[in-house]
Symmetry: C2
Subunit: 122 residues, 2 copies
DNA sequence: ATTTTATCTTGACAAGTGTAGAGGTAACAA
DNA sequence: TTGTTACCTCTACACTTGTCAAGATAAAAT
């Protein structure tokens, strides 16, 4: 379940919609950078080939797509990969970097503390 | 400062040595998977072109390489990338995934608590 | 009924990535 | 001093990734 940078951008949008069309995805991507419809559609086609999205329903010429995998299913193996490749498998290094990244918000900290608390109970 | 998967494997080794030769790197990589010397040397050459390593000294036919960038210089932008692409910029999601990954060790937890403590002092 | 528009399909290409063989040559061994 | 070995250099190639244009065609508008 390895996706490219561009593919992830598209998935990101698809995950927050119940369904979406290529023109919609194109509109979303275009908010950030300037790519043609063709380019976006190619990425969508590849996601379909990879079986991580499917044609949910068709209305006239328009295809509505839907995801076939959850964020977690993609995040888990890819984060593991990052941990290995970038931090030699050392979680502490990753955490540290996350702290230094650009300051965690107060809310982030609190969330972390809760994660720790919950973890200790198990 | 974007490095490929294979390039990161090589950097990983180089970072833990003061200097290293191509055959040494090859030996290291070969512990995990089966690639020829040529392949490894190509990656090393590309790292050199990217100016993230340099020829430190030469002894006979043998070249000793050394890194020109720190782990952090590479990790920081790449982790940021991952955070954006994979977790839509949401640090909480990343942390959560890290916890679920494959259980943090007791030591990891403690380390995290210290990070939090230190963070609160600032 | 005909034109216009929106969307899809197909094909293509440059750059990047992983992979390796062939051939050169310095260094070492006999 | 000549053969062998260890490394290096160069070249190449298939696959992936990002990018898009051209052409087809259904749907909508006139």
């Amino acid at each position: 379940m390895k996706l490219t940078s561009f593919e992830l951008d598209v998935m990101q949008y698809l995950w927050q919609q119940t369904e979406a069309t290529s023109p919609e995805v194109h509109a979303y991507i275009t908010k950030t950078r300037d790519v043609t419809y063709s380019t976006v559609k190619t990425i969508i086609d590849r996601l379909e080939q990879k079986k991580v999205i499917k044609r949910h329903r068709v209305e006239g010429r328009t295809i509505y797509y839907q995801t076939l995998v959850t964020p977690k299913e993609v995040q888990k193996p890819m984060l593991k990969q990052v941990l290995q490749k970038l931090f030699a498998g050392n979680k502490k290094l990753l955490m540290n970097q996350l702290f230094e990244q650009d300051d965690l918000s107060q809310e982030d900290i609190q969330y972390l503390e809760n994660l720790i608390k919950r973890d200790k109970k198990l």
